[in-house]
């Protein structure tokens, strides 16, 4: 769910851009280091961003009957590192604004923060925790993808509530309102995205395990799981 162009006041737009800038900068630094060590990874990042864009253009059925699209943040974060996802996400969001008029340029910072920073980091954290307590691989992937999606939406609701606090109840009431409105579409969507990501990983490990191992995406242990 992207905040549309012009929805946030100027101060918030600038503030969120400043907040996400260090993550994008750090991500670029990580990518630069990786490219210096393995020059062949340069193309991989470009196709990763293109893949995330195409994935987000797919229509996904949602439990309520409405159609929505996957964010792909969970998938990207588990496949690539969460640090590298910030610039990749920034590029994807920029293209969504320029090619589909989805999202916006002034709200780019806020969208990067929720979709390319909070989502991937949450996904990685959940994935590591779930694997740490010996949950099955599929369940860990499901949890990572759906919780990343949920946290992305909660962050967006927080950003909107922060920009437009309720005149009486302030931030808390406004936050509850935005969460409630978006929960209708976002909770079924998070579950669908979790299931979809599991199917993707199953298909990957079943048919293309060797390619993935060649490209150091999955370790041998994960392929067996």
């Amino acid at each position: 769910m992207h905040i549309m162009e012009g929805f946030l006041p100027v101060t918030h737009a600038i503030g969120w851009s400043l907040a996400s800038a260090p993550f994008v900068g750090y991500g670029l630094y990580v990518i630069k280091k990786r490219i210096r060590e393995k020059p062949e990874q340069r193309m991989l990042l470009g196709v990763a961003a293109a893949f995330t864009f195409v994935l987000s253009a797919l229509k996904m059925p949602s439990v309520t009957g409405s159609c929505s699209h996957p964010t792909g943040t969970g998938l990207g974060a588990v496949l690539f590192s969460p640090g590298a996802m910030a610039p990749i996400g920034a590029v994807v969001l920029l293209f969504q604004a320029l090619l589909l008029a989805h999202g916006g340029l002034t709200t780019l910072g806020a969208n990067i923060f929720s979709m390319a920073v909070v989502g991937p980091f949450a996904a990685t954290l959940v994935y590591r925790l779930a694997r740490g307590i010996k949950l099955p691989f599929s369940f860990a992937v499901f949890l990572a993808a759906s919780l990343a999606d949920l946290l992305t939406y909660v962050t967006t609701a927080g950003q909107l509530a922060f920009a437009f606090p309720d005149p009486v109840g302030g931030f808390a009431v406004s936050f509850a309102k935005f969460c409630g409105v978006f929960a209708v579409t976002q909770i079924p969507l998070a579950i669908s995205e979790g299931l979809l990501t599991v199917v993707v990983f199953n298909a990957l490990t079943r048919y293309n395990a060797r390619e993935l191992q060649d490209m150091n995406v999955l370790t041998g242990q994960e392929v067996r799981a």
Binding site: F7, V10, I31, R42, G46, V47, G169, V199, A203
Partner: protein, 246 residues
């Protein structure tokens, strides 16, 4: 395939220098966000940018309206949420306060104005021109390279995704919800593998041409027209003046 991208290369303003179009969109966007007199100024900006896109750049009005629908939906949901007042003190649990209504109107006006600026930019300026301009503005080379690569790969991948989707749909792959989930999963997995293979092939092609340095993309230069720059400045000054009077 992606309608705005095709239009960006075929509209009547494609030969105009990208800096002029970006300057216009950016200055209107800034005025739209910064103006104290939101209602009149934002409506003015919306009408001005709409007319410019539809009549000057000759973008079909139907396509324009369709592109406006998604942001409009978000705008209605967002502004509606701000407008509705939840509290137990009032007579009714759900109510609309005049302050909430005022904020909602401001949000709708600002949003419409800003979206018209964004649509102007994305319907008249090809991405290749924008990345060229970003490079001129000293944005880090790595980011520009990532943008160029992504732009190239999006269309290759979207093409194969569309082919696979047609193949799946013709075998009733999207008939039920379970089948849809399975089809989408295998489609995504196939796209990932294709992306990796593509990346490897592109790298090999790059290496075989000793491509170690930055990627260079050809850009056909078009002259900056002083007339257009002055027109952009005049329009900005007029709207800025209106925002002080209004």
């Amino acid at each position: 395939m992606i309608a705005p991208d095709t239009l960006a290369y075929t509209n009547r303003l494609v030969k105009t220098h990208p800096a002029e179009k970006c300057l216009l969109a950016a200055s209107m966007l800034c005025l739209n966000l910064a103006t104290p007199a939101v209602m009149p100024v934002c409506c003015m900006i919306f009408c001005f940018m709409c007319c410019l896109t539809i009549f000057k750049a000759r973008i079909p009005a139907v396509v324009y309206a369709k592109l406006l629908l998604t942001p409009l939906f978000f705008l209605c949901v967002g502004a509606g949420t701000v407008m509705i007042d939840l509290s137990a003190d009032h007579f009714a649990f759900i109510s609309i306060s005049s302050q909430g209504l005022h904020t909602a109107i401001i949000i709708v006006c600002r949003g419409l104005g800003a979206v018209s600026c964004l649509l102007f930019l994305c319907l008249t300026t090809p991405v290749a021109d924008i990345t060229w301009l970003l490079a001129k503005l000293r944005v880090p080379g790595l980011l520009i390279e990532l943008l160029d690569l992504t732009y190239r790969c999006i269309f290759i991948l979207a093409d194969s995704a569309a082919t696979i989707t047609t193949a799946q749909a013709s075998r009733l792959g999207y008939a039920t919800m379970n089948a849809t989930n399975r089809s989408l999963g295998t489609l995504s997995a196939a796209c990932i593998i294709r992306s990796f293979v593509n990346a490897r092939l592109m790298q090999q092609a790059f290496d075989s041409r000793c491509g170690e340095g930055p990627m260079r993309v050809m850009h056909t230069p078009c002259p900056i027209s002083k007339k257009n720059i002055i027109a952009v400045m005049m329009a900005s000054i007029i709207i800025a003046a209106c925002s002080f009077i209004g």
